[in-house]
């Protein structure tokens, strides 16, 4: 089975002088030079005791250097664990400790933060000539982890208990998708990709590895630029981008605020969207504008990678009003539908929880045996991942997304377990109870509303201070839109938070 690090080695031999990654207004790197950077960092990791199967954290802003770090880690046969540079240090610290990372590659300006976070458990190696450092971590005494062989990376997703959970993805899991996507979308070395999603988000797997497999160039878009539709719209023409992969939220923002009429955007060839449902009106609008591109809806939770797809027709018929289906299974994946604890093959009209099996499905969640038990449905010795997504099978045997089975919501394409927000609120010294709900008004984005009661029941907390507290404890996309103080949180007869009653208060 090919390894992801092998992709860069092969391409750098084939196209040493071709541009690999571009940092707008900063610079670019060729495939040859990127391989050298990865080899240097890989050597550094090995010299410092990193071995095959070890985990190495990456806490770097999106940059050529962060790409070099990822390939360097893979070259050392270790697994990379990307964390959100903008997320609270405590959350990232938890992630690194949870996977018992052997080392962390961190930008010079955040070195001190993490060196003091892990005081007594780390030592620092400066890296001459580069604005990053290596933090060697030592979690001695921690119980050994069950790490699958061939682990490529761990992506942490929101956890309902308040702690993020690590999704273990092997080279085999990732490679089947990377290879299929290259073929399905006819990717070649002439393509120019956008890399909008951060590296801790699974959409980035396509941008990084499918591009490298084929020797395409990739324009790296940092977190601030990714939220700035005017800059995004300008970048397409500036860099002649041909492959654009983004969430519907980003595409809708570009339509609304991107001053799209000023640009040609005729270099676009493939537009992929994933992460959430794309309502038909804005899809129709952007498709009309980007008439040179073929559009595809991709679907798949982090745990399965992309596992279904649906090509959007060249012309969206006038009468089409429902969003397009998530489609049919990719060739490496198989789908079944679970209804009343019985699994079924797809047949028209069937509605239930989508189960996915096949090469792309994760090895499991790291160190969460009970959660893994619940995450999989076993049938005749085979494990099927329970997506928690309710789908309906249409007459063409394509699947349509219906709803979620649990309290997970999507915002800007990110998964959010409302329980993680509640857990953060419970950490506030003055909060007695909290219940978080989400609403999505017609034609608008998901809104998260947090209700809380205080230990001094009549006293609401100052909104600004509470928001600041949450910013320090949650990634920005999880901070609620509204914070509502209640004298008493409504309860069910079993003394649990009464969510339907909270919804009545929205």
């Amino acid at each position: 089975m090919p390894k992801l690090s092998g992709l860069l080695r092969q391409t750098s031999e084939k196209f040493p002088e071709r541009t690999a990654f571009i940092e707008p207004e900063q610079g670019r790197i060729t495939y040859g030079a990127l391989q050298q950077l990865a080899a240097r960092l890989s050597q550094l990791l090995s010299d410092n005791g990193v071995e095959a199967g070890d985990r190495v954290g990456v806490c770097l802003p999106k940059s050529i250097l962060s790409v070099g770090a990822i390939f360097g880690i893979l070259e050392a046969e270790a697994a990379y664990v990307p964390v959100d540079v903008e997320a609270p240090e405590n959350r990232n610290g938890y992630i690194l400790e949870n996977c018992q990372a052997k080392a962390l590659l961190v930008s010079s300006d955040q070195l001190e933060t993490y060196a003091s976070h892990f005081e007594g458990k780390c030592s620092v190696r400066e890296i001459p000539g580069l604005p990053l450092a290596l933090l060697i971590l030592d979690f001695q005494g921690a119980s050994p982890l069950d790490i699958p062989s061939g682990l490529a990376y761990i992506l942490y997703t929101s956890g309902s208990t308040g702690l993020p959970k690590g999704v273990l993805i092997t080279h085999r899991n990732a490679f089947c998708f990377v290879q299929w996507a290259g073929q399905a979308f006819g990717i070649s070395e002439k393509d120019v990709f956008s890399s909008i999603a951060p590296f801790h988000f699974d959409l980035s797997v396509f941008d990084l590895f499918t591009a490298v497999l084929h020797g395409a160039s990739v324009v790296l878009i940092g977190s601030q630029m990714a939220k700035n539709p005017m800059q995004l719209a300008a970048l397409i023409d500036e860099h002649h981008i041909s492959v654009w992969y983004a969430t519907p939220t980003t595409l809708k923002m570009m339509l609304r605020f991107g001053r799209m009429e000023r640009y040609q955007h005729d270099s676009l060839r493939i537009v992929l969207f994933a992460g959430e449902v794309f309502p038909i009106t804005p899809l129709r609008e952007i498709k009309a504008r980007w008439h040179t591109a073929a559009f595809y809806n991709l679907y798949g939770p982090t745990e399965t990678n992309v596992c279904t797809f649906h090509p959007i027709p060249e012309l969206i018929p006038e009468e089409q009003s429902a969003p397009y289906p998530i489609g049919i299974a990719c060739p490496y994946a198989r789908c079944r539908i679970l209804v009343d604890e019985q699994s079924h093959l797809l047949k028209p009209g069937l509605e239930g929880e989508l189960l996915v099996a096949g090469e792309s499905v994760m090895a499991g969640y790291l160190n969460l045996p009970e959660r893994n038990e619940r995450a999989f449905w076993t049938e005749q010795g085979e494990q099927w991942y329970r997506t928690g997504d309710i789908v309906r099978v249409d007459n063409q045997l394509e699947m349509e997304y219906v709803s979620r089975k649990d309290r997970m919501v999507k915002r800007y394409g990110y998964r959010i377990e409302l329980g993680e927000i509640e857990a953060a609120l419970h950490h506030h010294p003055d909060i007695a109870e909290a219940g978080v709900v989400s609403v999505q008004p017609e034609g608008q984005d998901v809104q998260i509303i947090a209700f809380y009661s205080t230990k001094a029941p009549e006293t609401a907390l100052p909104v600004l201070a509470l928001k600041e507290f949450l910013v320090q404890n949650l990634p920005a996309y999880m901070v609620p839109d509204k914070l509502v103080h209640l004298v008493e949180t409504p309860k069910t007869t079993t003394h649990k938070v009464n969510y339907p009653a909270l919804m009545q208060l929205v």
């Binding site: 939220k227 005017m230 300008a234 923002m253 609304r256 605020f257 600004l464 600041e468 949450l470 509204k482």
Partner: protein, 85 residues
Amino acid sequence: MESIKGKVREYLVAELNLPISQEELQDDTPLLSSRLIDSISALLLVEFLEKEYKIEFKPHEVNHDNLDSLDLIANFVEGKQQEHA
């Protein structure tokens, strides 16, 4: 300067439904980094400023450095107006 801040303060609280009152919203209260306003509201604010003060943001000017507080917004708007004067 003060009139810009006053107008923007009113817009933020009344139109963007900021969850705090005009009195609580200080000149240096962080807006984006505190998540008081989200990225979409920030873009609506840019539209408002462009229309109200007949200025245009260049794509790279839509950022925290120019929008994260009333002080920064007023400075930016004044600078733009002087460019055109």
